[in-house]
């Protein structure tokens, strides 16, 4: 089932209401780490939702760029979920989170170097071999540059995708958050990324904390991010877009209202591209 339109994150807090709602939900995205071990009622809810809409997988714990061996138990679990639910898209983050001693409970950037391109590419190739399919890699939010950078984020990401055949999950909120925190122009950072490889887009809300923007996924999407999203769509064409809401999760209707707001931008961009002769 190919995905289109605007989906929302499948979260435990929303599951009951999602099963019952008659409102438009184009697709869902689950976090495999959260459902790999569910059974009983939660599993039944997932089955019912999967009968109605397409579900994509968005992992958070593979430690794609990390120094430790890949968590094969988790990776095989994602493969089993993929075999069961036939995910149209499987994604992870272009980041590290864990050393042999500690899970840092965060998505951390690596230095953008040629050595790290080779390091990350080798691990992404293993992941794709185990999954038996292409994965998408998401640009993360950054609060600092890591030392020793030789490349910018766009060139680094393009090189990793070229070495692996992976696609880009373009997180527009992360572009805005990173650019603001690092003193870059959001549009320049957006245009530097390999948008031609984008297969999915994420949008979300953020907060300001201690003078920095934090990718909290706990607020409506900022107007500046929606404007950046519209610009991204002009470059990528219409892509399945996910509204992420993971903290301070409101009632489902509030989340779906926000999804409608995002969909209006997607629909307008699609119309503009159609009238300009670009295939939707």
């Amino acid at each position: 089932m190919a995905l289109s339109g605007v989906g929302i994150g499948l979260r435990r807090e929303l599951a009951d209401a999602l099963v019952k709602t008659s409102r438009r939900v184009d697709w869902l995205e689950l976090i495999p780490e959260n459902v790999i071990a569910v059974h009983g009622r939660t599993e039944q809810q997932l089955e019912r939702l999967a009968e109605r809409v397409g579900i994509a997988s968005h992992g958070v714990a593979l430690n794609v760029a990390g120094p430790t061996p890949l968590p094969m138990e988790l990776l095989r679990g994602i493969r089993r979920l993929d075999e069961r639910y036939q995910f149209p898209l499987v994604s992870e983050h272009l980041c590290w989170s864990t050393t042999s001693e500690r899970n840092f409970l965060d998505l951390l950037p690596v230095p953008f170097t040629e050595a790290f391109v080779r390091h990350v590419a080798a691990r992404v190739n293993v992941i794709q071999d185990v999954l038996g399919r292409q994965m998408l890699l998401e640009n993360i939010s950054a609060y600092a540059r890591m030392p020793g950078a030789e490349l910018d984020e766009g060139a680094f990401t393009r090189a990793v995708l070229a070495e692996t055949g992976a696609g880009l999950l373009l997180d527009v909120n992360n572009v805005f958050v990173t650019a603001t925190n690092l003193g870059l122009e959001p549009l320049e950072l957006l245009h530097s990324l390999p948008l031609e490889s984008a297969r999915e887009i994420h949008v979300a809300g953020h907060h300001r904390r201690h003078g920095r923007l934090v990718d909290s996924h706990g607020a409506p999407v900022a107007d500046e991010v929606l404007a950046l999203y519209a610009e991204a769509l002009r470059r990528t064409g219409p892509l399945p877009t996910l509204l992420e809401w993971d903290t301070d999760i409101p009632a489902l209707d509030v989340v779906l209202d926000e999804a409608d707001r995002v969909r209006a931008v997607l629909d307008e961009a699609t119309r503009d591209l159609s009238s300009a002769g670009v295939a939707a």
Partner: protein, 236 residues
């Protein structure tokens, strides 16, 4: 900088075990060094958030002390596992050793630990294996189960000092974890079969050893799990 060098420098820096001077050979702006400190803050906040989600009653009982306890726990027992629930492993023992005179606190930590243990089915990683450990018996000196329920439903409440024996179990049909206050027959049957309850448990609820009739034990155990109540997640 090689990946190995980067991780060797960055990990202690982000943990706060090393100062920014380890990066003196690199050219980082003030904005970026401030950003690295910001990562340290975020990580501590994430540890607190994770442990608060896993041990909500402990967080309530400790109040402002919880933050420092989380910091100490993370420094001596960091988890490297991808599953965040692993941050809970050993935390109850840590609480018990750190607060030996606060029984309600230790019991609350223990209850949350066995809830987590019951909640995690093993067949997720071993397809076909169905003999999950689904239930555990505990004897407490405080009604921490009631306090847990109060915390989960809204305002925290005091923990009453009252002896109680609990079975914490995961429903086979719903996958949800429950607390069950067993009657004596259930308790003894469960304990004998599982080898986890003892005569002390029986005496705690006023029963005498003659009640241990083997026929009754087997009979009650057969119907035990199927007779358990079902309902909301973590229902009492």
């Amino acid at each position: 900088m090689s990946p190995a060098t980067f991780f060797r420098l960055a990990a202690p820096l982000l943990e706060g075990r090393a100062g920014l001077e380890v990066l003196t050979t690199t050219r980082l702006s003030r904005r970026d060094t401030d950003g690295l400190v910001f990562y340290q803050r975020l990580m501590h906040a994430n540890v607190v958030h994770t442990l608060e989600a896993l041990f909500p009653l402990v967080s309530v009982l400790l109040g402002p002390r919880f933050d420092a306890v989380c910091r100490d726990w993370a420094s001596v027992h960091p988890s490297a596992h991808w599953d965040l629930n692993h941050w809970a492993t050993g935390f109850a023992d840590f609480i018990a050793s750190r607060f030996p005179d606060e029984a309600a606190l230790s019991e609350a930590a223990d209850l949350h630990s066995i809830e987590l243990d019951c909640a995690r089915p093993v067949e997720a990683f071993e397809p076909g294996r169905l003999d999950n450990r689904t239930a555990t018996t505990r004897q407490y000196t405080h009604r921490v189960d009631l306090a847990v329920r109060a915390v989960r439903s809204g305002p925290p409440s005091a923990v009453a000092p009252a002896p109680v024996v609990l079975i914490v179990f995961r429903s086979q049909s719903t996958g949800l974890v429950h607390h069950h206050l067993p009657d004596l027959a259930e308790l003894l049957a469960f304990g004998l079969v599982r080898g986890e309850a003892s005569l002390a448990d029986a005496e705690a609820v006023g029963l005498s050893s003659p009640a241990l009739s083997s026929g009754a034990q087997r009979l009650v155990h057969v119907g035990l799990l199927s007779a358990m109540p079902t309902g909301a997640p973590w229902a009492a």
